[in-house]
């Protein structure tokens, strides 16, 4: 058996794959956070809860309505996006223009409500969600066996990230979004319905989180607390990457996921804190973050 630094290569590749998968979720979630923050100046603490809602929507659709994985990939984000639109219209909107900390506190309260309610109804234990039949089994890559579903998640998340990036960088809607991030008043004075743009952006960000949640359901179990533990790590990812750049958020997410996976191989005790340690180092060396601009 081959080894690298005394570690058997299949174990190494296995952990890199797990790291890549975790990184996929970090990337998708920090991307959504960055888009929302860019335009709304709100750190969406409910992002983790919205991710959890996506996973639960998939689980409930399957259990009670018989709607399977593939349609859930569309339906769950639509449901969560709609909930988010209501939240933006009736709550977040009232906080624009005041200290952004209040947006953080409001979404924190919402996250507590959502998580507490789901925990009350469904208990804290995770619920299994089987991957669709088309994606079960494993693929022999020659150097390792890869479960097909995991490979799918990495590929799908890449598509989602690149797709979102293209939407923002290459479309007219994206141009509105970028311009409004710089100067929302002027964009509105040009006749763009900026309040609607804000609503849609929050809905889109939440839908992205929900989509990640559906993808996650077969890998991690569906549980009320799956989002809150993840969101704190994603905050660290966002601090490392800086929120100035969409591409930066994506790249940082994948890289930190892989680094975390590698830590699991070489120094497992530190694997749960390695991302926070990296954040601390980045704060010492480049306080604005790797891709950030000091504001």
């Amino acid at each position: 058996m081959n080894t690298i630094f005394g570690v058997p290569t299949p174990a190494l590749y296995g952990q890199i794959l797990i790291g890549l998968i975790n990184g996929s979720f970090y990337a998708m979630l920090s991307l959504g956070l960055a888009v929302i923050f860019g335009l709304l100046r709100v750190i969406n603490f409910a992002h983790g809860a919205q991710y959890m809602l996506g996973a639960f929507a998939a689980y409930l659709l399957l259990t009670y309505v018989g709607i399977g994985y593939w349609p859930a990939l569309i339906v769950a984000p639509l449901i969560v996006g709609a909930v988010a639109i209501v939240i933006e219209r009736f709550m977040l909107r009232r906080l624009y223009g005041i200290d952004p900390l209040y947006g953080l506190l409001l979404t924190f309260g919402l996250a507590l409500i959502l998580e507490g309610a789901f925990r009350h109804w469904f208990g804290a234990a995770g619920k299994p969600y089987a991957p669709p039949a088309e994606l079960t089994g494993a693929l022999n890559l020659g150097f390792m066996f890869m479960p097909i579903y995991r490979g799918w998640v990495v590929v799908a998340s890449l598509f989602i990230c690149v797709g979102t990036w293209l939407l923002i960088e290459k479309t007219r809607l994206g141009a509105y979004l970028r311009a409004a991030t710089e100067n929302a008043t002027l964009v509105q004075a040009f006749g763009v319905n900026v309040p609607l743009l804000l609503t849609l952006t929050y809905g889109l960000g939440a839908a992205l989180a929900a989509l990640a949640g559906v993808l996650a359901a077969p890998i991690y179990q569906v549980s009320p607390l799956m989002g809150s533990n993840l969101i704190i790590i994603v905050f660290a990812v966002v601090v490392v990457g800086g929120m100035g750049s969409i591409l930066g958020a994506i790249v940082t997410g994948y890289v930190l996921g892989v680094l975390e996976g590698l830590t699991k191989v070489f120094y497992p005790e530190a694997s749960s804190i390695v991302i926070f340690v990296i954040m601390a180092i980045v704060l010492l060396v480049r306080p604005a973050g790797l891709f950030g601009r000091e504001e």
């Binding site: 952004p100 900390l101 009350h120 905050f235």
Partner: protein, 324 residues
């Protein structure tokens, strides 16, 4: 935000009123254990001190720490370990907790003050989560079980803290000392510079103040006082567990302060009392406490951002203006 203290200083009449109210409050606190469960009261005192310590940072420097549970729960672990395993006397155990929290505050604060506003909140949250992970793994905290059965012992070898009333009055003493310390800090020249930083950081920098040092100083003091609350809580309740270092606890102390009134002296105390009382009340019902806390958060942020005490002070401030 921090209109309370300044305003009182300018209003001699109100000042006497507040002295009277303070005296009544003190008398009530002294008499309280004869009417209410001492454990319930001590719980309120510990959390009220914790909220006051947190408020020192958000209310007077404008920094929202989302990681204060690390100092509160960390100190509880240090105190519990020193008293139970090393057999320390309780007060020195609590002081060790304070020192430990101050040390952690120095490290976390040093990193967090490198960014502002929303990032500051995220960084403190992430670092305290890292500390929670460490607490889960290192042996001395006993993982999921926590440190149980911490003896209350004899304070300075003199007072037997196993007597509920003795424990209560010691806790009250610590609470009053902590609040007095915060009051002194806020009304010192140091405190005035903190407020200047909160109002306009750039101007404070251009006036030649080393803003970062003041922020770090305030952060360490706030952490140490949160540690005082946490260490005391470990003696009162005789255990230290992961609950106290987790992010939910950081959220609770934010809520107490927000509900009572950010930047007011008594607001966090009122907020802590209300939140603890509500939690106790709802514990008897089948209603999830997390949801309750979330709902109060949303209502506070949307409807009364000044908090209960803040809104009352605002009303008092308007009235005399109208009559003059």
């Amino acid at each position: 935000m921090a209109v309370g203290t300044q305003y009182l200083a300018e209003q001699p009449k109100l000042r006497t009123t507040s002295l009277v109210v303070g005296a009544i409050a003190l008398a009530a606190l002294l008499a309280a254990p004869f009417f209410l469960y001492p454990v319930f009261l001590m719980s309120i005192l510990c959390f009220a001190l914790f909220a006051c310590a947190f408020n020192l940072l958000i209310g007077y420097v404008g920094l929202l720490s989302f990681g204060h549970a690390a100092f509160f729960g960390g100190a509880a672990y240090f105190t519990a370990h020193a008293v139970k395993v090393w057999g320390w006397e309780p007060l020195s155990g609590i002081l060790l907790g304070v020192a430990g929290a101050a040390g952690m505050g120095l490290i976390i604060g040093f990193l967090a003050i490198r960014r502002q506003g929303i990032y500051f909140a995220m960084i403190t949250l992430a670092l305290s989560q890292m500390f929670a992970f460490i607490c889960l793994q290192v042996p001395f905290t006993h993982g999921e079980d926590g440190i149980q059965g911490v003896p209350r012992g004899n304070l300075l070898g003199l007072i037997d803290l196993n007597q509920p009333l003795a424990m209560y009055y010691v806790t009250l003493g610590i609470f009053l000392f902590g609040v007095f310390a915060i009051w002194r800090i806020v009304n010192s020249p140091f405190g005035n510079i903190l407020k200047a930083i909160r109002e306009n950081e750039r101007r404070a920098i251009s006036l030649g103040y080393r803003v970062d040092r003041y922020k770090l100083g305030a952060f360490v003091m706030s952490a140490a006082l949160a540690g005082l609350a946490g260490g005391t809580k470990a003696i009162v309740f005789q255990f230290a567990t992961l609950t106290d270092v987790q992010w939910q606890m950081s959220g609770e102390v934010i809520l107490m302060t927000l509900l009572g009134g950010i930047g007011t002296m008594v607001g966090p105390i009122v907020g802590a009392g209300l939140v603890i009382a509500l939690q106790n009340y709802f514990a008897a019902y089948d209603f999830p406490v997390t949801v309750l806390i979330g709902i109060i958060f949303v209502i506070c942020v949307l409807l009364f951002r000044r908090g209960i005490v803040g809104e009352i002070l605002e009303l008092l401030k308007r009235k005399p203006k109208g009559t003059v």
